[in-house]
Amino acid sequence: MLTINEIHKSFGKNEILKGVDLTIDKGDVVVILGPSGSGKTTLLRCINFLEKADSGMATFGELQVNLHDASKKDIHNIRQKTAFVFQNYNLFNNKTALENVTEGLVIGRKIHKTKATDIGKKALDKVGLSDKYNSYPSQLSGGQQQRVGIARAVALNPDIILFDEPTSALDPELVGEVLTVMKNIANEGTTMLVVTHEMSFAKDVANRVIFMDGGVVVEEGTPHDIFISPKEERTKKFLKRVLPEDYTFYI
């Protein structure tokens, strides 16, 4: 459904993405792992045109777009097919939870307000925030804010949702609620591309895991392939660091 070819991106002299390819099928849940600075965020941002790639192609079903010099219309089209969940939520501070969810529908998609409100409420219900429609972001906990962020993405009914470390800004105790919501959405068959450090999520939910380092895809496969029998030395080293042997304690 989504194919990315040979994406390159530099900041100044630093080449961050050195030709990344990626294919995601409908219903896939793909998790991207990789050390800090390996270009995971940059990749996601390029797909959504929040960053302009130096070169590369994206194919979205019929739609084929050059990531470097897409027209305004193409950008708009791709953004209609994708949704982004940010690490630090990026909820609209001046809008209530419900308004956050409906904003893109009413203004971006020109859906009628009553209908949008309907969709918005359903999306918020789905993430367990039926009682927070009218709360402003500042009145919500981090976990609740991120759930609004997810509802905002889900409500757009995009072909694919991109998640950039959706739980890493949360207190450990709040991580669970967001992961649960993400699992539910995945189980409904939503296509998802997720950058995360939550190994449990990768193991339980992903059907493919991609390991990136230094701006290239080092290895990819099923969670079992990557976690239990990684082939590449770099992958092994990384997993050793983030999954200390100590974890065996909790048998």
Binding site: N48, R79, L91, K95, G104, G108, Y136, S138, Q139
Partner: protein
């Protein structure tokens, strides 16, 4: 005590107030116009500063530095005499214009420099993520500015805008030096009519008027900020 009694007569304060207050109208009109034009011009300067063009940035910065370094009284003078003289080179005869026009030009120039910084910092205080989130849900960049960035930047800018306004009003008190009869100008006429006696009382009356005015403005902007800042200071309602 005898010195005080001889020269200081409180009744001059109360008696001058009803004469002075009607002239606030002039002060307000001049300040109001300067604010409108200055804000608009300041917006352009802020856009120049935030934009990509290095030359535009340099020009805007140069302008702001010059205005920041010029005392109002000097600027007033240069505008009042310089603008008609310059215009003459283009065959325009501006000497007949009302003094108030030059006062408005002066404070428009000055207020624009202040507002440019206020607008720029308000804009920069809004996280980039707000814009990104807006376009990622399908808003056009213009819609993102209008519906997400602008309302939030406004809240940040409000207190500084209020401060700028108070500052403008005070600098405006110097317009009397080029002959504008606003509240300060009228105060000087009163003093002159008294042969320069009992000036202190009139000045105290002036100070009172300005003080109360600025407190009102501050209160007003405090209220305004509360109204606009929905979702910002409401944590305790949870």
């Amino acid at each position: 005590m005898h010195n005080m009694e001889k020269y200081f007569d409180v009744s001059y304060i109360w008696n001058s107030l009803p004469i002075l207050l009607p002239f606030l109208k002039v002060t307000f009109v001049v300040a109001g116009l300067s604010i409108i034009f200055g804000t608009f011009f300041g917006l352009i300067l802020a856009m120049m500063k935030l934009g990509k063009s290095k030359i535009a940035q340099k020009i805007a910065n140069f302008y702001i530095t010059i205005l920041r370094c010029t005392p109002s009284i000097v600027l007033l003078f240069l505008v009042y005499y310089g603008v008609p003289a310059l215009a003459e080179n283009f065959g325009l005869y501006l000497h007949d214009l009302n003094t108030a026009v030059f006062v408005v030009i002066t404070f428009t120039l000055q207020f624009a420099a202040i507002m440019a910084e206020v607008i720029r910092s308000a804009y920069e205080s809004i996280e980039k993520g707000q814009f990104e989130a807006a376009v990622s849900v399908g808003l056009s960049p213009f819609q993102a500015y209008r519906r997400i960035i602008f309302p939030q930047a406004l809240v940040v800018a409000l207190p500084n805008f209020g401060n700028g306004l108070i500052a403008l009003l005070q600098e405006g008190s110097l317009a009397y030096t080029i002959g504008l009869i606003d509240i300060v100008g009228k105060a000087n006429l009163i003093i002159a009519a008294n042969y320069n006696t009992h000036a202190l009382e009139i000045f105290i009356a002036l100070a009172l008027v300005y003080w109360i005015l600025s407190i009102l403005i501050e209160k007003f902007f405090g209220k305004l900020e509360k109204v606009f800042s929905k979702g910002k200071h409401t944590i305790n309602t949870n």
